[in-house]
Symmetry: C2
Subunit: 452 residues, 2 copies
């Protein structure tokens, strides 16, 4: 979890609005604009305002931690690439108008990377030559560009988007598939931590190529892919995953699931009992590929085996759409009043609503709690504006802060504060002294210790 | 400080080399290639390998913490911008061939942002309309592109580079200058924490425009600007800065310093006694500007004052070259054996050198210390390769890890480990039990508590 500073609404760049934005059709897109998370700067290109930026970083951090856990190593490749490596791999012409091509001042053909298979293979080929350095998994989290003809659904199908892409290098297909399944397991855990049910499904390998591929899809009506799956997949729980081999993820492989471009309707009907057949729309949030030597041969990534033979390295690639996830999570986590952030990615864990700004006691208690949360390292947003209580309640709901503390003169007299849970709507009253231990208990920074 | 995982050299992507790279003229560039921090992917464009990536993130984090300290708010703008806002500000034609221009699939003129004054002014103008929301400072840390005709000195003058750029918005020139000096103070503190002596100097406002500007320059022979300054500036210490007003930074403003395009030789000789006159080369690592309404008028960023008047907002912009700093710090921190990272940005605080890999006792002690450091949250690099001790010593020096722990059979018999300080070369012997408290004391994660 990243530690962000606490803020006061009065001085924060948080332009919320009640109006329904024109041209925003997806609900998550509307909410991201209304809650002041993003603003569009060009068609399908967005600036992330302070609240949206925090959410993006939290998602990124969870993805990063799960990549590190399986020993993938973080690095960073640039956004602008030479065209020549894409010509070598054969993808330069295939990629079509979605690739943003450009020329530099010396008239060299370059492009804004939509993905990095070519570049990472070239970097690998320059420096790694022996089985001794394998297995190796590298990843980076970087902006990519895909020049969609009709960008839509806000950040879910933007043109400039943030992606985590990982690449695995192995000495044999057998080892390559082990890396593939380890990444599969990491993805299940990642989405679970993000509060999402992501269903892995057999998928088309598309322009990446290769012979094995799974998409991770979350169910949402705004999704652009039609999916066919066994509803029992929704009951599986990745938080209990004990390892990262094919055996550990077997339950997810055992139920039928496929996107419309891969579905075999006979198989679907044969393998899924009628009561479990689920046909719905989904949003792709991750995609993994095993493609063997597709890039290592043309780009010359060969390694020496233990007995001195030179073989092409076996590769896979693994993407998660980080900026897209911000929208996808809102599709999954909202109600009629606005966003309902899971605590793990909320921009602030606590929102303090001072309903009588200017009242000496209310101001001083608000300020005291604000400082206490800072000491506890719990990011907190204090609404200290001169606005009516109703406006403050509505905004705190809209931006989806998980816990609201309401401070008013009546409660102060009774030596309590009112706490509201954004998700359940439940309200309770706590004495000032109980507050600290309560938040220590629920904070992602201070995981609750096992009860005695 | 960011918490990175510990690693074993045997499985880390760390391609060090003894060979002097061709075409790398700056010493920092040579060392970054030799220590496996970066690789060039196109002229003036680099991939950051795992060690280099860590350094970049540490620098970024120090910059971020000092921006947050003066209440600048982090956000994130995209890399690709519409040309029209640059046409409105009048900079589209002025910027010349260093601007990377491109057309999207609909033939719209776009560009890879070299800076973000236009975009942030437009975002501000859309959502902020009142003095009540001022002062406001926003910043982001994002990749920029400047299509240098001859990129050189590695990441110090690359084409794709990471920059922190901040923007201040104020109701009046007086308030605007307060924001300017607060940022000035934040810069002094930032460079101090990075272990650098950065000298603020009067500078030309160049293509940004405006009427007040300072460059922050570190002294280095590979620097491209000639500088003229009072050597007493080098003695000032920003770690004792008590505030962020003009008064607090007055010592830095009181001594003469200017780059060659701004220097007034008469003033220089008049104000600097001969014994303090310093003419040398420098590297610009930061640049701040106050430019009033230069962008707010053309882009329509007006705010209502307390008495209902509409006035253009007063702006400043503030840049720090984050990727450039990685090179600049190496220029300042190296010796004949390689890089000497300051602890605050080192990729690992501790390197463990097992000089007898395969020896049961050496392996098990190395592993035990490695695990202990992980528990202490001290990032540690264990050299567990089957290489001669000399190779391991040389690599650990080259990559500049601040503390080396040397584990060998002789020391184990005597129940000690040898510790070497990379910077001073000092060696000492500690019992296994003393190790933990020693590293607790020096770790940036565990600042030493005041002695009793």
């Amino acid at each position: 979890m990243i530690s962000f500073p606490s803020d006061r609404v009065s001085s924060l760049f948080l332009p919320t609005t009640r109006e329904l934005p024109a041209d925003a059709h997806a609900l998550s897109h509307q909410l991201m604009l209304r809650a002041g998370l993003i603003r569009q700067t060009s068609a399908g290109i967005y600036a992330w305002l302070p609240l949206g930026y925090r959410v993006l970083r939290h998602i990124e951090q969870i993805v990063r931690e799960e990549q590190n856990r399986i020993n993938a190593q973080e690095m960073l490749m640039p956004t602008i690439q030479n065209a020549d490596i894409w010509q070598t791999s054969g993808r330069y012409d295939n990629y079509g108008p979605e690739m943003l091509r450009l020329k530099d001042r010396h008239n060299r053909d370059m492009l804004y990377g939509p993905t990095n298979e070519e570049m990472i293979t070239q970097l690998f080929a320059q420096d790694v030559h022996s089985y001794k350095n394998l297995p190796l998994s590298l990843y980076h989290i970087q902006w990519k560009f895909r020049d969609e003809i009709r960008p839509r659904f806000g950040v879910m199908r933007g043109r400039e988007f943030l992606m985590k892409d990982a690449y695995s290098f192995d000495i044999s297909e057998k080892h390559g598939l082990e890396s593939y399944y380890a990444m599969f397991a990491a993805y299940l855990r990642t989405f679970e931590r993000l509060g999402l049910k992501a269903i892995p499904m057999q998928a088309n390998t598309g322009p990446i190529g290769g012979n094995k591929s799974h998409e991770f899809v979350i169910l949402a009506e705004t999704g652009e892919s039609r999916i066919f799956c066994d509803a029992r997949l929704l009951k599986l729980n990745a938080s209990q995953l004990q390892g990262t081999t094919e055996k550990h993820i077997a339950p997810w492989l055992s139920f039928y699931a496929a996107t419309d471009d891969e579905v075999d309707m006979n198989l679907y009907h044969e393998q899924v009992p009628p009561e479990y057949r689920l046909q719905t729309q989904g949003i792709e949030v991750g995609h993994i590929f095993f493609f063997g030597d597709k890039y290592s041969i043309p780009l010359g990534a060969f390694v020496e085996t233990q007995n001195g033979q030179k073989v092409p390295v076996q590769m896979g690639s693994y993407g998660i759409g980080i900026s897209r996830l911000a929208g996808a999570i809102i599709e999954a986590c909202h109600d009629e009043n606005g966003i309902v952030w899971p605590s793990s990615i909320a921009p602030y864990l606590v929102g303090i609503i001072n309903i009588k700004n200017g009242d000496l006691e209310c101001d001083s208690l608000s300020q005291e709690l604000f400082s206490r949360f800072q000491v506890m390292n719990i990011p907190c947003l204090l609404d200290d504006r001169n606005e009516r209580p109703g406006v403050k309640f509505k905004d705190m709901d809209l931006i989806g802060i998980p816990w609201h503390i309401i401070i008013g003169p009546k409660n102060i007299k009774e030596h309590v504060v009112e706490i509201k849970n954004r998700k359940s709507g439940e309200r309770s009253f706590l004495s000032f002294d109980q507050l600290e231990s309560f938040f220590k208990h629920i904070s992602p920074h201070h995981p609750p210790s096992p009860s005695p």
